[in-house]
Subunit: 122 residues, 2 copies
């Protein structure tokens, strides 16, 4: 069946959540959002392109930071209201310069940082 | 720092998206939603408990199907508006009886099913 980006179930803001997972380490890197056009651009260019809710604009991941995400596979969930992007992540995915955004673990009721800030490699 | 479930950034419906990842295979199993009380119950009981948007009620994963999720680790993202639940998944996570909800891949513009329905093991 041909894939039509408009066939996904977007929320009231016209967005679907997108989980980015590293193709090699299988780490869950981050969660961000796409609208129909961001889905289309991601598939067309191979550059993972989100919709920034804060800036209300398209956000080609890594365009400013250099920490790009190249699409390896895009998957749809059973309800067609969430996407899983398998990506080749260059450098840290998180804007805090950590490899992943999920760097805080809840252990025995306490928040514990489990991923360190990476040194600049450029 | 002690973790307070009410310190997360919930959306207008009082929910945060929660990504469930298998602790052994590292597969991304599904995405669902929690409110403050679901987060609290999940941490207290170790049984991953979502908020069902369709039923508008708490949803202890696997309570009906037997396909339970036992919490291994709960992680918060940098923006505090998304959670990653590392879980021990018993049986298929998807209501379609597939191991994961993300069983449809977009390949060359076509939707392709990449995960089969599991045979009943009970």
């Amino acid at each position: 069946m041909p894939f039509d980006p408009s066939s996904l179930r977007y929320n009231d803001a016209g967005l679907v959540p997108v989980i980015a997972q590293d193709c090699e380490t299988h780490e869950v890197l981050m969660l961000a959002w796409m609208n129909t056009e961001a889905v289309r651009r991601t598939l067309e260019t191979g550059k993972v392109t989100y919709w920034s809710r804060s800036r209300q604009d398209y956000w080609v991941k890594g365009e400013t930071s250099g920490h790009t995400q190249t699409l390896v596979d895009l998957r749809i969930d059973c309800d067609r209201d969430c996407l899983l992007a398998i990506v080749n992540q260059k450098g840290p995915a998180c804007h805090t310069n950590r490899r992943v955004c999920f760097y805080t673990s809840i252990e025995d009721g306490e928040e514990t940082e489990i991923v360190s800030v990476e040194a600049d490699s450029d």
